[in-house]
Symmetry: C2
Subunit: 124 residues, 2 copies
């Protein structure tokens, strides 16, 4: 199974961007793909993750795991994001121990969503 | 197939809450379950959706559909949330036409995440 690291490529990160200038989300996507996906992770650019005021945005998802969304990311965070994605991919449920998460993941969570296959009683 | 409406029951919605007082997230969960889930929707309380500064928070998810997370919700929004959940449940992909979304869903999106089964080329 492969974890997916979604990267919003259209994110303006709250900036006013000239039409022919690269967007912060696209720059982040470039930095991530150039650094290279760790084992068990696929990097997938998406057109909008609807977190525009908190961009640039990434999300981590995999069947059977919690989904996480992180905001206010930039190309300078690429190494931390990839380390966090590798740690996520190595878990069974997406729950990386707090101290093993990159600081940007601890501080810049926008949301998490339970796995769809989780028994209802385990979520409440 | 059933859409899941996750409701963060521990959300303090940015307020300082006495330990024995009901939390805004729990009040929202109560209002939603009392109003009753529309056809095709299951209401599921969760302990934390990690969007604490933007709570109370709800999320809509279903296998094969886009996942949506909405913030700054309160018990007063229960009817709108249930209407939006019913519209989501009626779609094939989770994409409700913009004008058919409740205003609180248009204005208070925290994030959306693509369906895990979407072909990669369709996301970029």
């Amino acid at each position: 199974m492969t974890a997916t690291l979604y990267v919003c490529t259209t994110c303006r990160a709250g900036e006013i961007i000239e039409e022919d200038m690269p967007r912060p989300g696209a720059l982040l996507h470039d930095a991530l793909t150039q650094a290279g996906a760790p084992e068990g992770v696929a990097i997938v650019g998406t057109e909008c993750l609807s977190a525009c005021s908190q961009g640039a945005t990434v999300a981590l998802a995999e069947p059977g795991k919690w989904t996480y969304v992180y905001g206010r990311m930039s190309a300078e965070n690429a190494d931390d994001i990839l380390a966090g994605a590798a740690a996520y991919a190595a878990t069974a449920d997406g729950l990386v121990p707090w101290r093993e998460r990159p600081v940007i993941f601890r501080k810049q969570s926008l949301a998490r969503i339970p796995p769809l296959n989780m028994p209802l009683e385990a979520k409440t």
